[in-house]
């Protein structure tokens, strides 16, 4: 476990214990961790043009969860934060790739959003999705969170409902509304 991961663990404990100040310290650490993992996944030696956010968050959590002291409450805090940071990581990468594209001619980064639910075939552009999510956030923040947790955090609907404190059917409806909105915005 790296120093950062140790710090993340400690901060998660504090956050679960009600120390809201831990949040601010935690965000950059989780962001840094995800970025390093993403860079590895997209590394030259792998020759990959896709990112799997869910795999990244899995990996990040598995590294943390080697620490036995982490409780379920810590886990929810982690995913709430990691899903949001993951989105930021993807946008950053997309921007860099776009910048590179102007000089080169590389394909724009597409998201492999759903390695878990295999075979989406959705080649979604990271920047466009981020744009649409911002619009959704302005209209209904909770539905944007559902999308983040599902698409960037890799949580299934039961877990999304749990993290947000919603009933399963409410979470499902939130998802369907958000899905409709994003589909419309992106097509």
């Amino acid at each position: 476990m790296s120093d950062d991961e140790g710090a993340i663990t400690v901060l998660l404990h504090r956050l679960s214990a009600g120390d809201s100040g831990a949040d601010a310290a935690l965000l950059p650490l989780v962001y840094g961790q995800l970025r390093r993992l993403a860079a590895r996944q997209l590394g030259v030696e792998r020759g990959s043009h896709t990112l799997s956010p869910t795999a990244l968050v899995h990996e990040a959590w598995l590294r943390l969860s080697a620490d036995d002291t982490l409780a379920p409450a810590d886990r929810r805090q982690f995913f709430a934060i990691a899903a949001r940071r993951m989105r930021q990581v993807l946008v950053d990468h997309a921007r860099r790739r776009d910048a590179g594209k102007r000089g080169g001619g590389e394909r724009p980064l597409t998201l492999a959003l759903a390695l878990d639910v295999a075979g989406t075939g959705d080649g979604v552009d990271a920047l466009a999705l981020d744009q649409a999510l911002r619009q959704l956030e302005a209209l209904d923040g909770r539905k944007a969170r559902v999308v983040e947790l599902r698409c960037f955090g890799g949580l299934d609907m039961a877990e999304v409902a749990q993290v947000l404190g919603l009933s399963r059917s409410t979470a499902q409806r939130d998802w369907e509304v958000a899905r409709s909105f994003l589909y419309q915005a992106l097509s």
Binding site: Q41, R46, G47, S48, H49, T50, S52, T54, A55, V57, H58, E59, W61, L62, S65, A66, D68, L70, P72, R75, F79, T110, L111, A112, L113, A114, L115, D116, V117, A118, G119, T120, G121, D122, G123, V124, L139, D140, K143, V147, R150, C151, G154, L155, D156, A158, E159, R173, D174, E176, V177, R179, S180, F181, L182, Y183, Q184, A185
Partner: protein, 753 residues
């Protein structure tokens, strides 16, 4: 532009049944045309977006010559379609596997191509064949494979109410496929019920080498990348859950979990989904409990009696086999799929299996148990031999009118005692000479009473057996058999008992069992309780040695019931309790085994002096039960006491001392006391030197324990060196128990890992 109000209305509409939604929206907008347009568009998007960001696309309709009929599954890296192609008067079906477009980066294409090449070299009746392959217009690869119409292996067994042995036989086909893959240097990495189908004719077919890796192609890096996303947590090995590079040992583990499901009717691990929480939980979960503790009556469709019977058959050896396959640490599993299959075949044949004890020390547990019998036999236990002699003369002593016979026999024995008892004379290890002298002086002494002479020769033969002088034993017991041709049934039964022991020690187990059963059959009912107790006790010991604990148990119980403890001979009763404990240990009824050994211990303390070899055996056996219960801290001092007794009685290079020393070292290692373990085993190896007969497997076994200790202590280099020496020692041995070479080979081969 869609606004918040439109979203809220869509949400409200979703509460309505689908047909009522349009009407609901129209009423709710109450004439607001702009809002109605927004919500109507959203409703349409709701229908159109099904599957969007959810992973459920329509997919292509044709790939190469194949028409995709319907999707029949989706796996970690793609989807599987039932496909057909038509040619000149034939129609062929196949399972076509696609990799979704967004995953079709160069790496995915390479991976799919590799799967095709891997499978092409796997021609095996239990592995689904590759028929065809190619690339879709967008560059994404596809593979057409033999389409198996069948059920997954667990459903197949359930629907046909296949019994335990039938399930094991079916599972052997799975291992045949896995072994073939491993021989071709391919690791499957995703063995689970849905990848193991049984076709209509009962042939098992292994599917989905989608995340398989070639061992030689250095699949490790790729393995790490796919392990997290593509695995099936309930059937993944610990190293797979941790995202570490995978080897054939991971497949052994997954296959073990599959066997667990088949024999218990439920998975070793409860299905927890693929959530992150579930993954994290699995990583920290304790090892699964034995399958016999988790039988699912409903899923196996068993009534109470049938379930009890199922559990009885499963408990013990088959339990042990499953637990060995799914051991947490790869090196403690079966080294190969073949070794796994061999053990299952041994189980089917009622032969002793490799997977005994806790399965973590390969056959160490069984080895020590086997050798403690040998140790007990060669313990030169003078008191034991004398007790046997006296017991065989019980009849004579009881018959008053034959008092002179008792007197004669007693004098004969007393002469021997004074010459040989180390507790009396302080002399050590002179029993052999004493017996030789007794045999030499026997001629003519009992000419008037051939039956008595025969009984004494049986007793002397037993003494030679304890000294491992089998030829001398055979000549005494053979002479007794001739003398007893016309003797009473009870006398002949005791002679048969000695013949059985001789056959047993010579490795002719079937003959030994036949002698004992014949003796029991000819014994007059109820009138010879003591003799019957002896016979049943010896039968229990023999069956224990053959690993047939289930049959040994009632014999040991009957022996105890026939000759209750208050009936005089405390030592004999302690030995019966010992055999009971041994059988219970073998059946993994550890608490009862412990109780039996503790009863035996109490009896021995009452009956025998400190430092008696029987007490060393008892302490050793009790310690092994405690160790299996995980109570290593209690076990180690007992092993030390056991060793101390032997050290005081025997020369330092006596096998009994060496085995006890190795046993202690092994358990010190298990207790994590690596330094002490190392010192102990080095002492044993130094004592053993070159003095042990090279034809025995003992020298190899001692080196094997040393290798294991070094491995656990973290010195892989030294472990490999010792394992190599163990292999060389085994090469010189006449016979080596199955599995021992493989265990050492696995350590030697671990070099590159």
């Amino acid at each position: 532009m869609t606004g918040g109000a439109a979203l809220a209305l869509l949400e409200a509409a979703l509460h309505q049944p689908e047909r009522a939604r349009a009407g609901f929206v129209e009423r709710a907008c109450a004439g607001d045309a702009a809002l109605l347009a927004q919500v109507t568009a959203l409703l349409r998007a709701h229908g159109d977006s099904r599957g969007f960001l959810e992973g459920d696309p329509a997919g292509p309709s044709r790939l190469g010559p194949w028409r995709l009929v319907r999707r029949i599954g989706s796996g970690g890296m793609g989807q599987v379609w039932l496909a057909e192609r038509e040619g000149d008067g034939f129609r062929q079906q196949a399972a076509v596997k696609t990799v979704p477009g967004h995953l079709a980066d160069p790496e995915a294409v390479r991976r799919a191509g590799r799967e095709r090449r891997l499978l092409a070299r796997l021609e095996h009746p239990n592995i689904a064949r590759v028929i065809d392959g190619g690339s879709a217009p967008d560059g994404s690869p596809w593979v057409a494979m033999e389409y198996i119409q069948g059920e997954d292996i667990e459903t197949w067994c359930r629907n046909r109410a296949v019994d335990l042995r039938g399930r094991v036989r079916l599972f052997l086909q799975v291992l045949a496929a896995v072994a073939a893959a491993h021989r071709a240097l391919v690791v499957h990495r995703d063995l689970k019920p849905s990848n193991v189908l049984v076709a209509g004719d009962g042939t098992v077919k292994l599917l989905d080498f989608g995340i398989a890796a070639s061992i030689e192609a250095g699949g490790g890096q790729d393995g790490t990348a796919t392990a997290i996303t593509a695995l099936t947590p309930e059937y993944a090995s610990p190293e797979q859950l941790r995202g570490e590079p995978l080897t054939t040992a991971s497949d052994i583990h997954s296959a073990g979990l599959l066997l667990y499901l088949l024999v218990a009717g439920r998975p070793a691990r409860d299905s927890a989904g693929r959530s992150l929480d579930a993954l994290a939980r699995l990583l920290r979960a304790p090892a699964p409990t034995r399958p016999s503790n988790r039988i699912d009556h409903d899923r196996l469709a068993l009534g109470a009696t049938a379930a009890a019977n199922w559990r009885r058959v499963l408990r013990g050896d088959l339990d042990g086999i499953v637990m060995k396959a799914i051991a947490e640490q790869p090196e403690r599993r079966y080294g190969t799929a073949e070794a796994f299959a061999d053990d299952l075949r041994r189980w089917l044949d009622h032969r002793p299996v490799q997977a005994r004890g806790d399965g973590r020390w390969y056959r160490l547990g069984r080895f020590l148990r086997r050798n403690r019998v040998a140790a007990a036999a060669s313990a030169v236990a003078l008191a034991a031999v004398l007790a046997g002699l006296f017991a065989s003369l019980e009849q004579a002593r009881r018959a008053e009118r034959e008092a002179w016979r008792a007197h004669q026999a007693n004098r004969f024995l007393t002469d021997m005692v004074s010459a040989a008892d180390p507790h009396v004379s302080g002399a050590s290890l002179t029993l052999a000479e004493a017996i030789d002298r007794a045999v030499a002086g026997m001629g003519g002494r009992f000419a008037a009473d051939p039956v008595l002479e025969g009984e004494l020769r049986v007793a002397l033969g037993r003494a030679y057996l304890s000294l491992d002088r089998l030829d001398d034993a055979a000549s005494q017991i053979g002479a007794a058999e001739r003398l007893h041709r016309d003797a009473p049934a009870a006398v002949r039964a005791r002679t048969l008992d000695a013949l059985a022991l001789l056959a047993w020690y010579q490795g002719r187990y079937q003959e030994a069992e036949a002698h004992l059963r014949q003796a029991l059959a000819t014994l007059p009912a109820r009138r010879e309780a003591a003799t019957e107790a002896t016979l049943r006790n010896d039968l229990a010991a023999l069956l224990n040695d053959l690993g047939r604990y289930q049959e040994a148990l009632p014999e040991a119980q009957a022996a105890l019931a026939l000759a209750p403890a208050g009936d005089g001979d405390l030592r004999a009763h302690a030995l019966r309790e010992g055999n009971l404990g041994y059988a219970l240990h073998g059946l993994r009824r550890l608490d009862e085994a412990e109780a039996a050994y503790r009863r035996a211990r109490g009896l021995l303390e009452a009956a025998l002096p400190d430092g008696h070899p029987d007490r060393a055996v008892n302490l050793n056996n009790l310690a092994l039960v405690l160790a299996d219960q995980g109570r290593l801290d209690e076990a180690v001092p007992l092993l030390q006491s056991s060793l101390a007794i032997r050290t005081a009685l025997f020369s330092q290079d006596h096998p009994s001392v060496l085995v006890a020393g190795a046993n202690l070292a092994a358990h010190l290692g298990r207790a994590g006391r690596h330094g002490e373990a190392r010192t102990a085993i080095e002492g044993v190896l130094a004592q053993a030197g070159e003095r042990l007969p090279a034809s025995s497997q003992l020298p190899g076994n001692l080196l094997a324990i040393a290798a294991r200790i070094e491995l656990d202590a973290g010195d892989a280099g030294r472990a490999r060196e010792l394992a190599g020496r163990a292999l060389a020692a085994y090469d010189r041995a006449e016979a080596v128990e199955p599995g021992r070479r493989e265990a050492m080979q696995a350590i030697v081969d671990s070099a590159g890992r």
